[in-house]
Amino acid sequence: MFLDKFDPLKGQMVQILDEEGNHKEDLLPKELTPEVVKGLYEKILFVRLTNERVLKLQRQGRMGTFASIRGQEACQIGSEYAIEKSDWIVPAFREHGAIWAHGVPMDKVLLYWRGNEEGSHIPDGVNVLPPSIPVGSQMLHAVGLSWAAKMRGEKQIAVTYFGDGATSEGDFHEAMNFAGVFKTPTIFICQNNQYAISVPRSNQTASKTLAQKAIAYNMPGVLVDGNDLFAMYAVTKEAADRARRGDGATLIEAYTYRLDDHTTSDDSTKYRQKSEVESWVPRDPMTRLQKYLTKVKIWNQKYEDELKEKFTKEIDTIVEKIESAPDQTLEQLFGYTYAQMTPQQQKQLEYVHSIEAARATATEGGTNG
């Protein structure tokens, strides 16, 4: 219904919930009951509070470089809610919302950004790949994962997330092309947050929308208000049904905005105007949900305050957990390169143990030498 009605070449964008919290009743999926929306809002709030905390920890030197998702939560929580837990999520590196919602514990997420490999050790049973830093490279994995299910006649699908910048990489093209040729049950969600670090969307590609790139692969492509939880859910659901039916892949351009810096190493005032950022504040995905939930008599300040208090405590616990998590041992650093260590690695591991022993002795002795 959305996929054939909204033509990106005509600039049409799916929106169900507008900035004022008003929704289009005819487009609203029935399953998004107030109770369900409440649950999703709470997820968004939790993700946002965690994100804030990490930024704070980072400034205190207690976290590594971190990529904030503020402003992009609805993209992620909405689309994730549209798929099954048995489906795969293949993220880039700015999808803490989606992967947490899909089952990756938040302490794992934070450990990753703290620079501990245990953070990309996805728990058994959670179908999420580790974050993918090489931009544009992960979509091919989603094609492969979902193709495997198709080959075995299973109903599993894969959703992959990537940025506007990622669409310029050759691997984006190759992934879309494979998905088109082999009709794999894959959903490509491009979070167009208007920037690839400092490079604005308009300098990334000359095409008016990213959604229209699907035409090159005979695939439906649809432009969606990425700050609209309802639209993100509804369109992803349609794409998921389509994929599960065997009709192939879909490209979703989620039109959104990165409200914070690219990462904590970035200073976005170098390349964008404060006024631009401010113009996006009223379009914040959380604000319009609050307005909607106010209308359906769920949201009020007390509710919000109580939630925040509860979540803050939960986050405290997570932070304690990751700050007391052990660093990787030498055995762990060597032990997962292959199923079995090579003879070269064994020698090297022996050597580094002896070096670290010598270093400890030297340090004790107060001198190095």
Binding site: S120, L129, P134, G144, A158, V181, Y338
Partner: protein, 326 residues
């Protein structure tokens, strides 16, 4: 079961066929591997026998091939993909390095990528530009990847089966010059050649010749000539370039005290450097002469009419033997 007398192409084909029959998760794809059976006919007949879902053509897209294979492997399949020529391997190298090689480590063992990349390598068939290179050292320097290369039909089948059953990504290099160079008895049965083990294919006492792929035959022939001069050569077929079986290689050179490494790839920063360095470092005082490297030169592999001028051959190996024995 009987043995069959097969070329290397046929031996690989047999290995693929038997593994596809054994394991329904094995899927074979790449450019032209389906209907056509591969430009070297290595996958001939597989589509007919196992159907289009098990052996099929992909778009012309090396990164696409490997990237999707990574996803397939993580989700329980066993992709055996072909890169049509190793000269085009770098189209997929970022996927190899950033993902295939690292997924086990990054996910602390939760996800593994047990796939096989087959690719013809090396020169000697007077092919077009970019069709005669030897890129083994690029692959071998990459932790998380195994690299094997057979020099006989027997080893080809055995190494392929080992590669397919290996829990980690394996690059299976096929020396294209040996594809149809000779035939050998290959058992019908299931057997495998362990990955990570070099093979002493000829014992000798004066000098150790170390080679892999097509260069093993040049060593073999040079050794036969050397014998006429009273020189006894031991020959090590490396077979697995990574992880390198330094134990076998070192033991041989410990015995002979002399060594020559032979490879087609250009010399500087080539795989021979690691072998020479390791031998010298481990056998300091034992070596009677410095290790010699007989290799391709630090040039772009010449086109067909001149490729012989770059390629190490029996004559160059023999000259090196004479030099080391002098």
């Amino acid at each position: 079961m009987a043995n069959q007398v097969l070329t290397l192409v046929q031996a690989v084909n047999m290995g693929l066929r038997q593994e596809m029959a054994r394991d329904p998760g094995v899927v074979v794809y790449g450019e032209d591997v389906g209907v056509e059976g591969g430009v070297f006919r290595v996958t001939e007949g597989l589509q007919k026998e196992f159907g289009e879902k098990r052996c099929f053509d992909s778009p012309l897209s090396e990164s696409g091939i490997l990237g999707t294979a990574i996803g397939l492997a993580i989700n329980g399949m066993k992709p055996v993909v072909e890169m049509q020529f190793s000269g085009f391997f770098f189209e997929c190298f970022a996927q190899l390095m950033c993902h295939a090689a690292r997924m086990r480590n990054r996910s602390r063992g939760r996800f593994t990528v047990p796939l096989v990349i087959r690719t013809p390598i090396g020169g000697g068939i007077k092919a077009l530009e970019h069709h005669s290179e030897s890129e083994e050292v690029y692959m071998a320097h990459l932790p998380g990847i195994k690299v094997v290369i057979p020099s006989t039909p027997f080893d080809a089948k055995g190494l392929l089966i080992a590669a397919i059953r290996d829990p980690d990504p394996v690059i299976f290099l096929e020396p294209k010059r040996l594809y149809r160079a000779f035939k050998q008895e290959v058992p019908e049965e299931d057997y495998f050649i362990p990955i990570g083990k070099a093979s002493i294919i000829q014992e000798g006492s004066d000098i150790t010749l170390i080679a892999w792929g097509a260069m093993v035959r040049e060593c073999w022939e040079a050794a036969a000539e050397a014998k006429k001069l009273g020189i006894s050569c031991e020959i090590v077929d490396v077979r697995t370039i990574s992880p390198l079986d330094l134990e076998t290689i070192t033991a041989s050179v410990q015995k002979t005290g002399r060594a020559i490494v032979v490879h087609e790839a250009c010399r500087t920063f080539g795989a021979g450097a690691e072998i020479s360095a390791s031998l010298h470092e481990n056998l300091f005082g034992v070596l009677k002469k410095p290790v010699e490297r007989v290799t391709g030169f630090d040039i772009v592999v010449p086109m067909a009419r001149s490729e012989d001028k770059n390629m190490p051959d029996e004559f160059r190996v023999l000259e090196a033997i004479k030099k080391v024995m002098a």
